[in-house]
């Protein structure tokens, strides 16, 4: 028996039509929906900058972090955004190494999501230091204080290296992928300024077979380097917690648990963004098809059950360890003062994605959009549960307390979405949102006589 492959592009297209379709959003004046989106996102972004300005000016006291909960919104939201980024690298690098051809049409935008999510995330530890004007102390540089160096034994410093390496490699990978497409836009440009800008971005690319040979090699190498890198990043983020001695944090399950959660939340964000891109650019529906969305939804459900397994496993080990502090930390999570956040987390991450057992739900845009929003909410609460519930009641009851959430926490949390969405909307307008040079070779997949190389 032979099962026929679904075409990756729903309508049979010529090479020229593919170029025209993908370049169109870059070349035409954007529509009203895009402007409305940009104005809203920008308003939120400006609000974010103002909120950060107040926190910088008046100090960290404006936010809820205090004794005993010394890690709050900044760390929670940092982990949240870093996690979002991981799905982009999974799609662009890991699925590339596995020769998954369906990744081609969503890889560029997923990678853009990674870059912007990491940029958004990177701001939070800088706010969290409390004295952001001294943040350059995080970097080991020769100085006149000894020289005094950073402490390389600290997971927090590993994180500085992991996140900055991840940001750098992601940006380079994303940019190198776009170079041939910039050349396409340059050669189509009718206006001098556009020709100049995209000419510079394209590095003078001309598509020689010898150049392609080196280019493809480097692209594969970058994918091969990004794959262990992305796993290392969230592993090291989890070390920030796991290397401490706090009950609820000091567990060996953290690295795989964090990586699975990161991929889960990132795919949630991919669905949120892709449904919006499909609405905003209807011609992209032929490239980002329902089949793509269905596969992503399957991954969401699978990784959702993986984090569900991690929740259960943590509980089991807390009991099995016989450690009273560890047991208490988990009972307190599920039934203590922050039980509401724990059950939001479980419902959003484990229960709600179960709807994807049904094919109709996996292929329904409204349903997957709503589920993806719940996934985003659930994964933010997962980090909130991990961070806050472990800190607020640790060992001695004299040392217990609640997290004092303020309006500034709310402002900075929601404001960060303004930054992310502003960057994303501008990206959709000035960069080719689907990889032109990668989609063309797969245009025959699923059609007669096409995709013969498997």
């Amino acid at each position: 028996m032979m099962i026929k492959r679904q075409p990756l592009i729903t309508v049979e297209k010529s090479l020229k039509e593919i170029t025209d379709d993908i370049c169109a959003p870059v070349e035409r004046f954007p529509n009203k929906a895009w402007w409305c989106g940009l104005l809203c996102a920008k308003a939120l972004f400006i609000y974010y900058l103002v909120a950060i300005g107040f926190v910088f000016a008046y100090g960290m006291g404006l936010m809820g972090t205090n004794h005993p909960v010394g890690w709050g919104t900044d760390i929670v939201t940092f982990v949240f955004w870093i996690g979002i980024g991981h799905a982009g690298t999974l799609i662009s690098a890991i699925l590339f190494l596995f020769r998954q051809k369906w990744r081609t049409s969503i890889a560029r935008t997923a990678e853009a999501m990674t870059v912007f999510a990491v940029m958004t995330a990177g701001i939070f530890p800088l706010i969290h230091t409390g004295r952001p004007w001294l943040d350059f102390w995080l970097i080991p540089y020769p100085n006149q204080r000894g020289p005094m160096w950073v402490n390389f034994r600290s997971p927090l410093l590993w994180d500085v290296f992991a996140v900055s390496t991840y940001a750098t490699v992601s940006i380079v990978f994303w940019y190198i992928g776009m170079v041939p497409d910039f050349a396409t836009i340059r050669d189509r440009a009718t206006h001098k300024v556009r020709k100049l800008i995209y000419g510079i971005l394209s590095l003078g690319w001309r598509g020689s077979a010898r150049h392609w040979s080196h280019y493809e090699m480097v692209y594969m190498i970058l994918a091969g380097l990004a794959t262990p890198l992305v796993l290392s990043v969230h592993t090291i983020v989890s070390f920030d917690f796991a290397v401490s001695g706090l009950p609820g944090w000091h567990t060996t399950i953290f690295p795989p648990y964090f990586v699975a959660g990161a991929i889960f939340s990132g795919f949630g964000m991919v669905v949120t963004l892709m449904t919006l891109v499909r609405i905003g650019f209807p011609s992209f529906k032929q490239y980002i098809t329902l089949d793509h969305m269905e596969v992503i939804n399957k991954i969401i459900m699978t990784t959702g059950m993986m984090v569900g397994y991690a929740y259960a496993s943590e509980f089991f080990i807390a009991w099995y360890s016989g450690n009273p502090y560890e047991t208490y930390a988990f009972v307190n999570r599920a039934f203590g003062p922050y039980a509401w956040s724990y059950w939001i987390m479980v419902s959003c991450n484990v229960l709600i994605p179960q709807i994807f057992w049904f094919k109709a739900a996996r292929r329904s845009i409204p349903i997957m959009f709503v589920v993806s929003i719940f996934v985003n909410i659930g994964m933010w609460f997962e980090r909130f549960v991990i961070t806050v519930t472990s800190l607020h009641r640790d060992f001695l009851p004299t040392n217990w307390g609640q997290y004092a959430w303020t309006m500034w926490d709310t402002s900075i949390l929601f404001g960060s979405f303004g930054m992310f969405l502003t960057l994303f909307l501008i990206y959709l307008r000035i960069f080719p949102a689907i990889s032109i040079a990668e989609v063309k070779p797969v245009r025959h997949v699923g059609r007669d006589g096409g995709g013969h190389h498997g």
Binding site: T19, N151, R153, T184, R188, R206, A209, S213, L225, P441
Partner: protein
């Protein structure tokens, strides 16, 4: 990059035809010819006779360098230049130094590989000559430079026409 070349080019609009043509041109004895395609065409490297890229060696060397430098720097900082007793741990705490060593390995490997690709491809090219704007969209070309083995303008033009080129013309200063 090499100095400017001139010669004859043929244009195609079909991927499979240009692939066959490239193979035939090589079989006709030409060595320095090149193909221009809007996307990487599967099998073009064999057809044109391009050797496997040597960039993986750069990646390997750069990764090794990054790893050694990263680890050495941490050793030097923690054991030589500013040794501080932190929690009774040894000055050279190897396990704790592995994450940063890994990151510097990946960083060096990635950046050097990309730099190598840009360098060997002669990029960035300032204001490069574009032979046909459709070559980055939906057309394919084969260029045979006039310094290639056994080049003669009439012969090359006939060969490219015979191989089904939509258009055959001279090019200069590419």
């Amino acid at each position: 990059m090499a100095k400017k070349m001139s010669g004859v080019l043929g244009l195609w609009s079909d991927e499979s035809k240009v692939l066959v043509a490239a193979r035939k041109v090589r079989e006709a004895g030409f060595k320095k010819f090149d193909a221009i395609t809007p996307y990487p065409v599967h099998g073009m490297e064999e057809a044109v006779g391009i050797k496997r890229s040597g960039i993986p060696w750069v990646t390997f060397g750069a990764g090794l360098l990054g790893g050694v430098l990263g680890l050495y720097f941490q050793y030097w900082v923690a054991s030589v230049d500013w040794p501080i007793n932190i929690g009774g741990k040894p000055f050279f705490s190897l396990p704790a130094f592995i994450p940063v060593t890994f990151e510097t390995t990946v960083l060096f490997a990635a950046l050097f590989s990309v730099a190598a690709m840009i360098l060997v491809n002669g990029l960035p090219a300032v204001n490069p000559k574009i032979l046909d704007p459709d070559l980055t969209s939906h057309k394919f070309a084969i260029l045979i430079p006039n310094n290639d083995v056994g080049y003669s303008q009439g012969k090359v033009e006939d060969l490219l026409k015979e191989l089904g080129a939509d258009e055959v013309r001279l090019f200069y200063d590419y």
